[in-house]
């Protein structure tokens, strides 16, 4: 049977890290680019500090809201333990873990914006125009936080995990 044509991103972390908000911004930006998008998340007891996963899938036409096992093109890691848990879901050979280094070296002024910084890092690999990202961030968050979140997103986007100048682009 044919392999799914959709591009799949998992954003993983724990309650309170802004996993769902990051998924919302990503999905919104992809819709703005004209893709069919499906997003899945788990609510309820996740609020009590459990693992949180947001799955975002896009393409010309997406049916399932859940990505098959071993089909994640990117896993955005907000919590290292959750990153290890999700890692086997990467597409063999092609999938990529996207994670910011911990601590001050990530260049983040505000730790609460770490989710947007991680999206900035993901943005290096996706062909979504930067203004579309910024608009999506502004739509998702209260105005008073726009500046710090866009700054965090930009810090993530400037961060070069491999020291390479150009990242491969999909999506």
């Amino acid at each position: 049977m044919p392999v799914s044509e959709a591009t799949n991103v998992l954003i993983v972390g724990v309650g309170g890290q802004g996993v769902l908000k990051a998924g919302q911004v990503l999905a919104d930006a992809l819709v703005a680019c004209g893709h069919d998008v499906k997003q899945s998340e788990v609510h309820g007891m996740a609020q009590r500090g459990g693992s949180v996963v947001s799955e975002v899938r896009w393409g010309a036409r997406v049916f399932s809201p859940l990505a098959p096992w071993g089909a994640a093109d990117f896993i955005v890691v907000l919590d290292d333990v959750e990153g290890r848990r999700a890692a086997p879901r990467l597409r063999p050979g092609r999938g990529r873990l996207v994670s910011l280094p911990a601590g001050p070296e990530s260049g983040l002024a505000d730790r609460r914006c770490r989710n947007m910084a991680a999206l900035g890092l993901l943005a290096r690999y996706l062909s979504v125009p930067v203004e579309v990202w910024h608009d999506a961030i502004r739509r998702a968050l209260p105005p008073v936080t726009h500046e710090s979140n866009v700054a965090a997103f930009e810090a993530g986007r400037r961060h070069d995990p491999d020291g390479a100048d150009h990242a491969a682009s999909v999506g």
């Binding site: 919302q24 819709v31 997003q39 998340e41 007891m45 500090g49 399932s64 809201p65 096992w69 998702a140």
Partner: protein, 594 residues
């Protein structure tokens, strides 16, 4: 963020299924919407509240039965009404639901029931489709947000056309997954609402009900014709080259369409009554018919009973929710689960009570007194998890009261005195009050703790009759648990701050030793709902700490084992002081806040 949050692509919205149902109800001219919070259904009403159409009468009901009756009343009066609940809530509402099929309705009446296959946040994974057959009500089931919108709109029209309540069955993945929705133009209904007397129709005494029973059967026959004809049941894909065809409903049909693009799929939007002639025709086209449905073989059983040759899934797939990998296995006819999760993954991260939660304080006292604790549905269910392990039952809403009474009635004196009930405030108003009435009436000598945190915390902090606020944000009279208990006839009612563990221990010792029914209201607002003005600060003196683990046995996430001692996370600690009381070496010290 509001559902009316527009995306750049004109006209299309990225909505969760629950948001799509809310938008559809608003666009269908709904005038009454109520329900009780329950994952995964809760966001339907919250979204309608955000939508802000003041013509819609909105409100959380104390429980699902009341909600269904209020909705039916509005529909009797000619208004379009929406009632929402989770699957187990439909059990609570089942009494008015089943008989409302006899009376029928005048305005469109849609009952949303959200099932939770896989039990993400539920105590069972019952399949609500059985209620449609049991009650003789039409049931529609969407497979994504676009269908949730379209079927909710259709449900109101269908309800009015056939004068029947309509069930809209959702599941967790349809409720909470987002996909694009293209809304249709809203309807503007010009109606006057009021009740017109029709005693033979609305008074279900036996003589009238026998006649309405016949009406119900006639209506079902006409509904069968509708389900055969409607364009909502659709075939996707071309059957010419395929070796088999699939009948599916709900999110399962999306999994099939993604996993096997070449296989023709008849997606059923009307899961009751079933379009059996349509299915038979499809079977003749494809020959080999496979039924792919989440949970039990509801569709398969009906299809086979109609004499249509069909095959289903292997037994293991009747349990839990489906996903693309499990559906692939079903399509390939594999009886085994898909490749399991690798064994070397980090251990699962169970949900825990928040740092500073008053419930932890209560459970630490219950544990110390070694009581038998009849629990209930809410955050405090987490008291059953290690290291607290101090909650002995969790059955359904309100059961903490009744189970304790039952054990007391049969156990010997010594054992009976160790049994206490534990219930939350929202759950108390939902269905705990009647249990308390039973306790008073039948002379119980037991003890009930009401953990009153002034919110419906587990589902995300919804208001209820005790919070003083309504769903639309307006102020409301505040029901008082202690006053209600006194009104029900409880003579020994105490109110205590759960952080006062010495006081709580004393109260519990007295109550369990006493000869009358006692209610102890442990009152402290949920930290997620109300941030306290002052927070105490504690640190652990690494020199004094013996690393005995006593503090860690509270299960507080703010305590972090370090090298030879325990550390308090300043970011997580909310200053409840429980760890300080647990420490026999005085290592946990309160410090002044800067």
């Amino acid at each position: 963020m509001s559902v009316v949050h527009e995306t750049v692509e004109a006209g299309k919205l990225l909505l969760a299924g629950n948001e799509a149902v809310a938008l559809a109800a608003a666009h269908a001219g709904v005038r009454m919407a109520t329900g009780y919070p329950g994952t995964p259904s809760t966001e339907v009403l919250q979204t309608l509240a955000e939508y802000g159409d003041r013509r819609i009468a909105l409100g959380w009901a104390p429980n699902e039965k009341v909600a269904l009756e209020v909705g039916a009343g509005a529909a009797y009066a000619g208004a379009r009404a929406l009632v929402t609940m989770k699957h187990v809530g439909l059990n609570v509402a089942a009494d008015p639901l089943v008989t409302s099929a006899y009376t029928g309705v005048r305005g469109g009446f849609v009952v949303v029931t959200a099932d939770d296959p896989g039990m993400h946040s539920s105590q069972n994974e019952q399949d609500s489709r059985h209620y449609a057959r049991l009650a003789g009500l039409p049931m529609l089931e969407p497979s994504d947000s676009q269908e949730a919108y379209a079927l909710a709109r259709e449900a109101f029209a269908l309800s009015e056309r056939f004068e029947t309540p309509v069930l809209l069955r959702m599941t967790t993945r349809v409720c909470h997954c987002k996909s694009l929705v293209e809304p249709a133009p809203p309807e503007e209904l010009e109606r006057r609402y009021g009740f017109q007397r029709d005693i033979p129709r609305f008074v279900m005494v036996p003589g009238n009900a026998r006649k309405r029973r016949v009406v119900l059967e006639e209506r079902l026959a006409r509904l069968r014709d509708y389900c055969e004809q409607t364009g909502l049941n659709r075939v996707h894909g071309d059957g010419a080259a395929a070796a088999f065809g699939v009948v599916a409903a709900g999110v399962a049909s999306q999994y099939v369409r993604e996993t096997a693009p070449g296989v023709p799929v008849l997606t059923l939007a009307t899961v009751w009554p079933l379009p059996l002639a349509r299915i038979a025709e499809f079977q003749r086209q494809v020959g080999d018919l496979l039924v792919v449905e989440e949970l039990g073989d509801f569709l398969l059983t009906e299809i086979r009973a109609a004499g249509i040759p069909a095959r289903g899934k292997a037994a293991p797939f009747r349990l839990g929710e489906l996903n693309p990998d499990r559906v692939r296995a079903i399509l390939e006819g594999t009886p085994e689960e898909p490749p399991p999760v690798p064994a070397d993954l980090p251990p699962p991260r169970p949900p825990v009570l928040c740092p500073g939660c008053g419930h932890r304080s209560v459970f630490s006292v219950l544990k110390k007194l070694d009581l038998i604790v009849m629990g209930d549905i809410g955050c405090y269910s987490l008291g059953a998890l290690p290291p607290l392990s101090t909650l002995d039952t969790c059955l359904c809403m309100g059961a903490g009261v009744g189970l304790a009474l039952g054990i007391e009635r049969v156990a010997d004196e010594q054992e009976a005195r160790r049994v206490v009930g534990v219930i939350g405030d929202s759950t108390f108003f939902h269905s705990g009050m009647t249990g308390v009435l039973d306790a008073v009436y039948n002379g119980s000598r037991g003890t009930l703790l009401v953990l009153d945190n002034r919110t419906t915390a587990m589902t995300g902090g919804q208001d209820h009759p005790g919070t003083g606020r309504r769903l639309d944000g307006t102020a409301a009279p505040q029901a008082d648990v202690a006053a209600v208990c006194r009104g029900l006839g409880v003579r020994d009612v105490r109110v205590i701050d759960p952080y006062d563990r010495a006081g709580l221990e004393r109260a519990l010792r007295e109550a369990t030793a006493g000869d009358r029914y006692s209610v102890i209201v442990c009152r402290r607002p949920c930290l997620l709902a109300e941030r306290p003005r002052e927070v105490r600060r504690f640190v652990i003196d690494a020199e004094a700490c013996r690393d005995c683990g006593a503090c860690l046995r509270t299960g507080c996430p703010a305590l972090e084992p370090a090298d030879g001692f325990v550390r308090i996370s300043e970011a997580l600690c909310r200053g409840c002081g429980l760890c300080a009381e647990m420490c026999r070496f005085g290592a946990v010290r309160e410090v002044q806040c800067p």
